[in-house]
Point group: C2
Chain length 328, copies 2
C-alpha cells in the first residue's frame, strides 16, 4: 500500500481490494468477513451488511443520498439471498447544511424504506464543523433473513449464463452529469430497491449460482470479482449488454466506460444454462427487470473477456483508479 | 428547528432531541425506533444499534477512534440487556490520511473487538477528497442477542437507587485536553467495552430497571432522558458522584462540568432498593466497576435535582449546546 490514502482506495476497484486484503482482513479475519460477499451471513440465518454514502451532489436526477442509503443496503442484503428487514441510519451532517435539504433527504429515505418493505429501527446523528464534511454523509446497516442460502461465486460452473437485469451505467452517468450543467436531467439514476426482483428471480426455481449488484466499479469490476473468487472466467458479448443511448453518449462525452460506471438498481446473476430462460422470464416480468439480458457465459479460463460487436476483444480488469469518485 | 444545522444539533442534548423528534421520528416512526433506547429490540430476541464516530483528534490518551467505534456500539448493545455478537465497521477516510494512522486505528479496533468478544463481520470503505472530512470517520453497527429483556426507564419506581459504575467525565476531559498541549497524558479516556460488567451486574440477580452509558451529554443528560421517559425525577447527592481529582481540575480549567462530559466506559443503572447492595457488590467486583457508587434516588417529581455538598441544589437539564463537540 502507498504511504497515504488516495481517492483510488475508495474507488471500489483494485486499490480498495488491496486495502481490504492487506489491512482489514488480517486485523479482523473470520469466516463471515473472509467470504467478502455484499453482506455477512451469520449463524441463525441472518444476513448483515453496511455501507456509507458520500455521494456528491446530495440530490441528483432519479434520487438523492437518502434513497441511495436505503436502497444500497437493502440491495446488499437481497444479493445475499436475504429478505431485508431492519435498517439503521446514521447521519454525519456538516455544520451549515440547510434543514430543508435534510428534511427532503429524510423524506426520500422514508419513502424508499416503505417501498422496500424495511423498517428503520435505530440511528445516530453527528454534526461536524464546516469544512470537515460535505453537507451530509449517511451510513446504513441492515439485517435480513436468509431465504435462499448458498449463493456464492464458488457455485459458478463453465457454461453458466451471466445475466444483467437492465441497462448499465445510469447511476454513475447521472451523478457525474449532475455535477455540471451538461445534459442534466436527461439521464436518471437507476437507484431502486431490488428485494422484489430478487424474490421473483429466486422463487422462479431458476438455479441461480450468485447475485451481486454492480455498484462502485460497475459491471466489469463485479464480474472480475466473480472470476477472482471462483477461479473461472467469463466471455461477454458486448453487443448484448444493454446500455441506454443517452448513457452511452454521456459516457463518451465524460470519457467514461459504461461497464465501469456505477449502478444502483441493477443486479448481475449467474445462472445454470438449464434454467436461464426461466430466470430471464422471471426478471422481465418485473418492472425493474424488463430489459434483463444474457450478456455472456462462464468459461474455464480465469479472465473476463469482452467480445466487441466489431469482432475485437479485450480483457476486463477491476477498475484501477477513481474513475468515478463519490458516486455512492 | 433552525433553518440550518449547527453544531448544537450534534451535541447529544436538547437540539439533538429536537432533530430526532421533529424530523426523524415522524419520517420513520415504528415501535422499535420510538422506544429510543441505545439500540432497537427486534422480534426474535435481537438487539441492533449503530453509532458514527467523528472524534478529533483521532488518537488520544486511553484510546483512539478505532477502539471507541468498537466499544461504543458494544456498549449500546450491552445497555439493551444484549450480549454483543457481531459488528459492522465502515470507514470514511479523508484523502491524505497516513496509511500508518489507519493501520494503528484498525489494530486498535481489532484488539477492542477481541477484548469485547465480538466479531467484525462486514464493512465498507469510502474515501473523500481533502477538505471534505477530518482524517477518518468510522461507523459501527452491531447485532446482539437479548439476554435480559425488559430494561426500560418506564420500569423505574420512586425510591430506586441511581448507580454510576465509576468516575464521571474522563473521556470528555481527555479528548478536550488532547486538542492542546495542556496537561496532556494526565487524564486517560475511560473507553472500554462494558459487556462483562453488564453481565456481572445482571447475573447477580439485582432488580435492574434500566441501563444506559452516559456518552455525549454525560451523566446529567442521560439522567434527564431517564426522567423524561419515565415521568419521574431524581435527587442526586453531589458529594457521592465519583469524579477524579485530575478530571475535576481539567474541567474547571476548560470551563466544563464533569457531569456533562462524555464517558465511554461507564454505565448508569437504576436498581430496586432491595437489591442495590447486591448490584453495587457485583459492579465493584469487576475491574471496570471498582468505583461504583449510589449517586442518588428516583423521586416522584419530574425533575433531576443535584444536591451539592455545601447544602445548595440545582436542577439539571439536558445539555443545551455543543459543550463538547466531536468527542465521540
Amino acid at each position: 500500500m502507498d504511504d497515504i490514502i488516495t481517492l483510488d482506495y475508495g474507488s471500489g476497484g483494485r486499490k480498495t481490494s488491496s486495502l481490504i486484503e492487506e489491512l482489514i482482513l488480517p486485523a479482523f479475519g473470520n469466516s463471515a468477513l473472509d467470504a467478502l460477499g455484499d453482506g455477512a451471513l451469520l449463524p441463525g440465518g441472518l444476513a448483515f451488511s453496511t455501507d456509507s454514502f458520500v455521494v456528491t451532489p446530495l440530490e441528483f436526477p432519479g434520487g438523492d443520498i437518502g434513497k441511495l442509503a436505503v436502497c444500497g443496503t437493502v440491495n446488499d442484503l437481497a444479493m445475499c439471498g436475504a429478505e431485508p428487514k431492519y435498517l439503521s441510519l446514521a447521519l454525519i451532517i456538516e455544520e451549515g447544511l440547510p434543514t430543508g435539504t435534510l428534511r427532503r433527504v429524510i423524506a426520500s429515505a422514508s419513502a424508499a424504506a416503505r417501498e422496500a418493505g424495511v423498517q428503520i429501527v435505530t440511528g445516530d446523528t453527528k454534526v461536524v464543523e464546516r469544512g470537515r464534511g460535505d453537507g451530509l454523509y449517511i451510513n446504513t446497516a441492515g439485517v435480513g433473513i436468509v431465504k435462499y442460502p448458498g449463493l456464492s461465486p464458488k457455485a459458478m460452473r463453465p457454461g453458466d449464463a451471466v445475466i444483467l437485469s437492465g441497462a448499465a451505467g445510469d447511476h454513475g452517468a447521472a451523478v457525474m452529469l449532475a455535477r455540471g450543467d451538461l445534459m442534466q436531467g436527461e439521464i436518471k439514476s437507476d437507484c431502486a430497491p431490488l428485494g422484489e426482483l430478487v424474490r421473483a428471480l429466486l422463487d422462479s426455481g431458476a438455479a441461480v449460482r450468485v447475485l451481486r449488484d454492480p455498484t462502485r466499479g460497475g459491471v466489469a469490476t463485479t464480474l472480475c470479482e466473480f472470476a477472482g473468487d471462483s477461479g473461472l472466467g467469463m466471455e461477454l458479448d458486448g453487443g448484448a449488454i444493454p446500455v441506454r443511448r443517452e448513457t452511452a453518449a454521456a459516457c463518451a462525452l465524460l470519457g467514461l466506460d459504461p461497464l465501469y460506471a456505477a449502478n444502483e438498481g441493477k443486479l448481475l446473476a449467474v445462472d445454470s444454462p438449464e434454467t436461464e430462460q426461466a430466470a430471464l422470464a422471471a426478471l422481465r416480468a418485473q418492472p425493474l427487470g424488463r430489459d434483463a439480458a444474457v450478456i455472456g457465459r462462464v468459461t474455464e479460463g480465469g479472465r473476463v473477456i469482452l467480445r466487441t460487436p466489431n469482432g475485437g476483444s479485450r480483457v476486463l480488469r477491476k477498475l484501477s483508479g477513481a474513475q468515478l469518485p463519490r458516486i455512492c
